[in-house]
């Protein structure tokens, strides 16, 4: 009896679970709801003119622990700086969010997207076009 009773108690517990609602959700159809602070794939914020809000100060490049950001600085006629080329190497990035913390104009942000699956290797690289497009998706 001493042997059987605990086993029966365990079985009662597991059987009672049959009648409860399952907690698993069918992932690709139903997405994981991420919190507001989620550190997912990056995006660029846009200014009123529809261009990137980035001022190419280079602070994110400096603070990035893995040196995964490539930045080429361009200059407009009025002397304002803008990123000529801005690329994030997705294989080096660890999504620590330091670039977001460092950005003085809140241009680069870590978004809520977390799915990265592409057919081609080149499609993973986050360039200016993609970073700006991600902002559109967000809105």
């Amino acid at each position: 009896m001493k042997v059987i009773l605990p086993l029966l108690k365990g079985l009662r517990l597991t059987f009672s679970r049959i009648f409860t609602k399952p907690i698993t959700y069918q992932y690709p159809e139903k997405k994981h709801k991420v919190p507001e602070r989620w550190r997912g794939i990056h995006y660029f914020k846009k200014n009123e003119a529809g261009e990137t809000a980035c001022v190419a100060c280079g602070l994110c490049v400096k603070v990035c622990p893995n040196q995964c950001i490539t930045l080429e600085i361009g200059e407009k006629f009025d002397g304002k700086r803008y990123p000529l080329k801005y690329e994030i190497d997705p294989w080096r990035c660890i999504y620590c969010g330091f670039c977001q913390d460092a950005c003085p104009v809140n241009a680069i942000n870590l978004g809520e997207d977390y799915e990265q699956a592409h057919y081609r290797k080149e499609d993973f690289v986050l360039d200016m076009k993609k970073l700006l497009a991600m902002y559109e998706d967000k809105k």
């Binding site: 086993l7 517990l13 991420v34 919190p35 602070r37 550190r39 602070l59 622990p65 913390d101």
Partner: protein
């Protein structure tokens, strides 16, 4: 006279029950283990060396990747060591939040242990039940830090940002639900005759041996030695919390299981107290040379902008000196030794990983045991190879 020939068997590094890339070379006499030698280093990334090439700031994400089941504790240990170098006193609110989060992380780590160890022993139901609760716990941590396993939320001089709205309710509902869930695991395991047969008297480690091998954490306490860094050398206001240190008597796997379950219950007590008595106030220390300004100030205040650039680009420069801080992580005593030469990069960072020292005792534990008990003994130590190999 016939000569006894022992069979040498390689267990790992791809063995699923070694919890990572641990390789154990076993010398067997039939089913009995005569000698065992653990081999480590398959996950070596040179983290201690990488620290030297990074600023103090950039070193923090590395600590998440040591013991990936308790990122908050690792962040806390590293930050406490650097803060000792800087000589700053952290505001009470930040200290309480740190305690709360590292205890939630301990619960998550212990839940993972109960779940996976039960699976190792053949009790599959507990795996699913344990992961169900762990998922809820990680959701709470995710809300505050933004990532499930790599929180990176505790920073030098305080915390990254204030707790999000609704966090307290989330944490409360989680810790109110948990005691009932732990009872469920106990129903399934504690009196279960198969579980007892697999764990009682197996993987025995005497108190003398435990001290001799430098074992810490639940494994040491299961051997009956009352040593917990939270009580022995309180850090981050642990002395203000009322909790007990659960102790075992036999030093076998069954006692380690009981100690961990009790620790979870104690962690619930600590989190409850932290929530109830959470003081108001700042979450960052007032030390402008080390702590970057608030994001809102950067946009409006020129001095703040300059300070922001200075700290982000150059990093912080602690005064010359060295500091060692150890904390009680979910695995045992986790220590960080940081040496500063006055520049923005640490001169040396040495990590004392609890799993590494706990692993040393495994040969003693499985001497004369059966092969099936090797899996049980390794699992009971709750080792994480990311921490051992660094």
């Amino acid at each position: 006279m016939a000569e006894t020939k022992y069979m040498t068997i390689n267990m790992g590094p791809q063995h699923p029950a070694t919890h990572g890339v641990l390789r154990v070379v076993l010398e067997l006499d039939g089913e009995t283990v005569v000698k065992s030698t653990p081999h480590i280093g398959y996950l070596h990334r040179g983290i201690e060396k990488i620290f030297e090439n990074r600023t103090y700031w950039q070193g923090e994400p590395l600590t998440d990747r040591l013991d990936y089941t308790s990122g908050m504790s690792n962040n806390l240990a590293y930050c406490l060591a650097v803060e000792k170098l800087l000589g700053v006193e952290i505001p009470k609110r930040a200290q309480y939040i740190r305690v709360m989060l590292s205890e939630l992380q301990r619960i998550a780590a212990h839940l993972l242990w109960v779940a996976t160890h039960a699976l190792d022993m053949g009790a599959m139901t507990v795996l699913f039940y344990g992961f169900r609760e762990r998922e809820n716990c990680l959701k709470v941590l995710e809300t505050v830090s933004g990532a499930r396993l790599m929180p990176d939320y505790i920073r030098f001089g305080g915390l990254r940002e204030e707790l999000p709205g609704g966090f307290i309710d989330m944490a409360k509902s989680f810790i109110e639900e948990l005691p009932g869930r732990i009872d469920e695991y106990e129903t399934l395991l504690t009196e279960n005759v198969i579980w007892k047969g697999r764990t009682k008297g197996v993987g025995f480690l005497s108190a003398e041996d435990a001290i001799g091998y430098g074992v810490t954490g639940p494994v040491l306490r299961a051997s009956g030695i009352n040593y917990d860094v939270r009580k022995a050398y309180p850090y981050s206001s642990y002395e203000e919390f009322d909790f007990e240190i659960p102790l075992g008597t036999h030093g076998d796997i069954y006692d380690r299981y009981l100690v961990r379950l009790q620790e979870m219950r104690q962690s619930i007590r600590i989190v409850t107290q932290a929530i109830e008595s959470l003081p108001e106030g700042p979450i960052k220390v007032n030390a402008p040379q080390y702590v970057p300004p608030e994001k809102e100030d950067v946009a409006s205040d020129m001095a703040a902008l300059i300070r922001h650039f200075k700290i982000m680009a150059d990093g912080i420069k602690p005064p010359k000196g060295e500091a060692y801080v150890s904390i009680e992580s979910s695995k045992g005593e986790l220590g960080f030794y940081v040496v500063s030469d006055g520049t923005e990069r640490p001169y040396r960072v040495r990590i004392r990983p609890p799993s590494f020292l706990n692993l040393g005792s495994v040969s003693k534990m499985i001497e004369g045991a059966l092969v099936a008990d090797v899996v049980a003994a390794i699992g009971s130590l709750d080792i994480v190879l990311g921490e051992i190999d660094k």
